[in-house]
């Protein structure tokens, strides 16, 4: 539907005319997005445009109801699956606000999560000792202090520490499609470099990443293949990495005009996708 960047690569995620609501309030109003293996996509947009809602719907949060459209994950209907099943087959959501869970050890949490994914892939589950070796090696991806393993999940972590813990989980779960919801917000420049370095290190021709962000500065460190602008629950415009730069220069004012124009149309159609050059 939208930008075709690597036409020969297999489609990993295909979102078609997705509508979703929360508490009977429609939030997503026809999202279209196709992501192929090896691609990095960025979704930008103002606060409240529906970016986190899209990520929660994809991850299967029970508070959100899909009211229309479809999502195929490697050709399989994603929306039929429980959140835990989505994770096990390789979908990962890095939370905008990672949840603190007092009393649950981070190490134990990471181990149970990793084993759930390993089991699904037919790999042997790791006992505490074997897992410690794996996790210590992965800590280097985000340059995280092993002391964080002994604490409760995210409890008392600073904003930056929570985000690093998210990327550590990503490094352990080795997802096929990773959605990172504002992983850059609240990070100082050093932490941003570390997190971006981690994401780059984990990217491969076989997986793909959907970065949700407000800021160009993340995209200086992770080069996206496509940039999408979200507004009022749909993708208004898609482009190459230059679109992010353009947004940085001119802001989102044009969005209002575009939305007004769309609302003026008798029967609102999903925004026509623009063909893109290979980045």
């Amino acid at each position: 539907m939208s930008a075709v960047i690597r036409p020969d690569a297999p489609v990993l995620l295909e979102i078609r005319d997705l509508h979703a609501s929360v508490e009977n309030q429609p939030i997503l109003k026809g999202v279209n997005l196709t992501i192929r293996a090896g691609e990095i996509h960025a979704v930008m947009g103002r606060n409240g445009s529906g970016k986190s809602t899209l990520s929660k719907v994809l991850a299967g949060h029970p508070a959100y109801t899909v009211t229309g459209g479809s999502v195929l994950y490697r050709g399989e209907n994603l929306l039929d699956l429980d959140p835990e099943q989505r994770s096990r087959i390789g979908l990962f959501l890095g939370f905008q606000y990672p949840v603190e869970i007092p009393g649950v050890s981070n190490l134990e949490f990471l181990r149970v999560a990793t084993n759930a994914r390993r089991k699904e892939r037919g790999d042997e589950e790791l006992d505490t000792f074997a897992f410690e070796d794996v996790v210590r090696e992965r800590l280097s991806v985000v340059q995280m202090d092993p002391a964080f393993l002994d604490r409760s999940v995210n409890e008392g972590f600073s904003g930056g520490e929570k985000k690093r813990n998210e990327i550590l989980q990503m490094a352990l779960l080795e997802p096929v499609v990773a959605i990172l919801d504002e992983t850059d917000s609240g990070l100082d420049i050093d932490a941003l470099r570390i997190v971006a370095g981690g994401v780059n290190q984990l990217s491969s021709p076989d997986n793909s990443t959907l970065l949700i962000t407000h800021y160009q500065r993340l995209l200086d460190l992770i080069t996206p293949d496509a940039v999408h602008v979200m507004a009022a629950g749909r993708i208004l415009r898609s482009g190459g990495k230059d679109l992010a730069l353009e947004l940085e220069r001119s802001g989102y004012e044009w969005v209002d005009a575009e939305l007004a124009r769309l609302d003026g149309e008798a029967a609102p159609q999903p925004a026509a996708p623009q063909p893109l050059e290979v980045a």
Partner: protein, 385 residues
């Protein structure tokens, strides 16, 4: 002081109504729900316990602790030395006439009186039961001399599947500056009942930490009762009770400050699942002479089922004016955001709920004496959850 059993199991006969037999043992009729202290807890459930004794020697005054290995600093007292302080903590904390205490006295309890001097380390007290059905009773008195220290763990457990009533009465006398860390890890089953009184007299400068944990009992009632006789002591009470099915767990605590500058830090937690019922009543008395008392009480309930029932009530009686008393009660369900976070990492809903429940319980369980780890308290408490 300890009466011989008024009636023996044989005399009671298998057809005799158990409640009448229990009333006879206690020398008093069972309390009814018309009494304020028993409003939510119906002892009529004890009718299911067959008349008879489940102590190892079935009602004979046999000593289950004759081979007990005591750590250095702990001496067992017998005869008049043992009797001297027996009953004083029960009387001081106003529960010597409580029905469960009377029942205990009438049920021929095994008696253990220990004197503790210096730093005595830790002790786990075995509480043996036989495979027979009926009542088993223990009475314990711990006297900590000034400056003495002890960690004590009790693990009352009914015989698997047997209809038993376990009656435990512990008295503690803490001398000046003495320190006791007491833990009671009580995992029962639906056919069994537990009646537990813990009465403590604290001298100034002493420290008590009591952690009472129970789960799985058809009926469990804990009554920790503490008196700071001169104030200026520290009391920490921790409780955790879990009910499921049609189980009932009830904690009635009582703390009184009979002098200034005392401290209380109390946390009571409950997990209520199924059609279970959880009761907490926390009485704190701060009379006029107990100026500068600092007391905090918090009750937290995790409600896992809409059929479960909870009744929780602080009962603060504060007369002194220069005091800090805080209390709070919260009832919550499993947090949906926490659950979703775990599920989004591939952890199935049931395992995620179990992890969150364990986390809730951990705050209290970690306060049990170190010896409790051997019993794997989390598994004991949550079973397969």
């Amino acid at each position: 002081m300890l009466a011989a059993p008024a009636v023996t199991a044989a005399a009671a006969g298998s057809g005799a109504p158990a409640l009448a037999w229990l009333a006879e043992l206690a020398g008093a009729p069972l309390p009814t729900r018309r009494e304020e202290d028993w409003r939510f807890t119906d002892l009529a459930a004890l009718a299911a316990i067959p008349a008879g004794f489940a102590s190892p020697a079935a009602g004979q005054p046999v000593d289950p602790w004759s081979g007990l290995n005591l750590p250095a600093g702990v001496t067992r007292l017998t005869g008049p030395a043992a009797e001297a302080q027996l009953g004083t903590a029960l009387a001081a904390s106003g529960c010597d006439q409580h029905w469960p205490v009377r029942l205990n006295g009438g049920a021929c309890p095994a008696l253990l009186v220990l004197k503790v001097e210096g730093d005595a380390g830790s002790l786990e007290l075995p509480l043996p039961v036989s495979a027979a059905e009926g009542v088993v009773a223990w009475r314990l008195l711990l006297v900590l001399e000034p400056g003495a220290r002890l960690e004590l763990l009790q693990v009352p457990a009914p015989a698997p599947g047997q209809r038993q009533l376990l009656s435990l009465v512990s008295e503690v006398v803490l001398g000046a500056g003495a320190r006791l860390q007491l833990g009671c890890l009580a995992q029962g089953h639906t056919h069994a009942a537990l009646l537990h009184h813990l009465a403590v007299r604290q001298a100034s400068g002493s420290e008590l930490q009591a952690t009472l944990v129970s789960s799985g009992w058809g009926l469990a009632r804990h009554e920790p009762r503490v008196v700071q006789e001169q104030g200026a002591a520290r009391t920490r009470l921790l409780g955790l009770q879990r009910v499921d099915g049609r189980q009932l767990a009830d904690t009635h605590s009582f703390v009184r400050f009979d002098g200034p500058d005392g401290e209380l830090d109390q946390l009571h937690k409950a997990v209520a699942d199924g059609s279970g019922r959880s009761v907490f009543n926390g009485a704190v008395q701060v009379p006029r002479l107990a100026q500068r008392t600092n007391a905090a009480q918090l009750s937290r309930t995790l409600l896992l089922s809409d059929r479960a029932r909870i009744d929780t009530k602080p009962q603060l009686e504060i007369v002194a004016d220069d005091v800090k008393c805080a209390h709070g009660a919260t009832v919550s369900q499993l947090q949906s955001e926490e659950l979703f976070y775990l599920r989004s990492r591939g952890i199935d809903a049931a395992t995620a709920a179990g992890l969150l429940q364990r986390a809730f319980c951990h705050e209290v369980l970690r306060e049990l004496p170190a010896a409790a780890h051997r019993h794997d308290p989390l598994t004991a408490l949550l079973g397969a959850a």
